[in-house]
Point group: C2
Chain length 160, copies 2
Amino acid sequence: MRDPLLRLAGYISENGLKNTPQRRRIAEVFFRSGKHLSTEELYDMVRGPEYGIGQATVYRTLKLLCRAGLAKEHHFGDHTARYEPLDEAAHHDHLICTGCGKNVEIVDEDIERHQELLAARNGFLLTSHRMVLYGLCAGCTAKKQADPDALSSSADYTLR
Amino acid sequence: MRDPLLRLAGYISENGLKNTPQRRRIAEVFFRSGKHLSTEELYDMVRGPEYGIGQATVYRTLKLLCRAGLAKEHHFGDHTARYEPLDEAAHHDHLICTGCGKNVEIVDEDIERHQELLAARNGFLLTSHRMVLYGLCAGCTAKKQADPDALSSSADYTLR
DNA sequence: CTTGTTGCAAAGGATTTGCACGGCT
DNA sequence: AGCCGTGCAAATCCTTTGCAACAAG
């Protein structure tokens, strides 16, 4: 069962919850469209002339998706939570350009292995992790050479 | 010049700022005491019968320390920012027990190297990163075997 | 003296929650 | 019918800011 919408429906019925049009609509938009959406961005995408969906419902549904294991919450360094669809088994980390905000998903088997090792070495049972690399992408590096002060305006990554 | 208080004084004078008793007091407590303090925790430690320090000053001073390169802000998953003293050259990552909140600092040269590599492979110039591993420490693993529901109450790591 | 700093309280932004109503099961 | 979910607005939580008084350089 690959389709996240079906998986959601499964989670809902299994837990005595209810499959409402709002949840369907939010999940549909969320899974179809880009990654790393903030609640507000999703809220804007989800609401339309024919849909009257409240902010609170978007918040609540996103948290539901997390509980269901279908989404993951991130805090990258801008000042809101961002959510990404979770493809299960498709784990990845993030490489973010502090100049333009570009967000690249990356994986490295070696690193993952080392993480397990490190945890074990400390007596820990690793359950999850997050790794975010911050830097300047090729474009922004070039731009910065041309004019060293050109970048500061765009994203403002406080590096949380 | 190893002493962070001296380094702070240096940063202050070099930048035309002012060395106030509040800043001294906050920095002193911050550097002396434990790691990963929240603003509120530090606020409580800093204020005393003889000191009348406002929350805002604690916030402002912590941000100053970050700007000075003497502290680093983290968001681990409880719902506030946490700050840790930065020993310069003593970079490390974190291994957190989601059961009891224990926070172990770790480093691994291999991982650091791989991160550089990964960034470079994507055309990025790596400027910083953060990596947090979440898991169960030995103690909590044992505790959980005894009573699987025993842990949920303590920390509530939403895994941000 | 000049300018940065402080404390307080008010403002802000993101997220949560109480409540009455409406809609799944 | 019963109970979960929704929208709205009010409430919270954390953090920032405006401002007048103060103090460091």
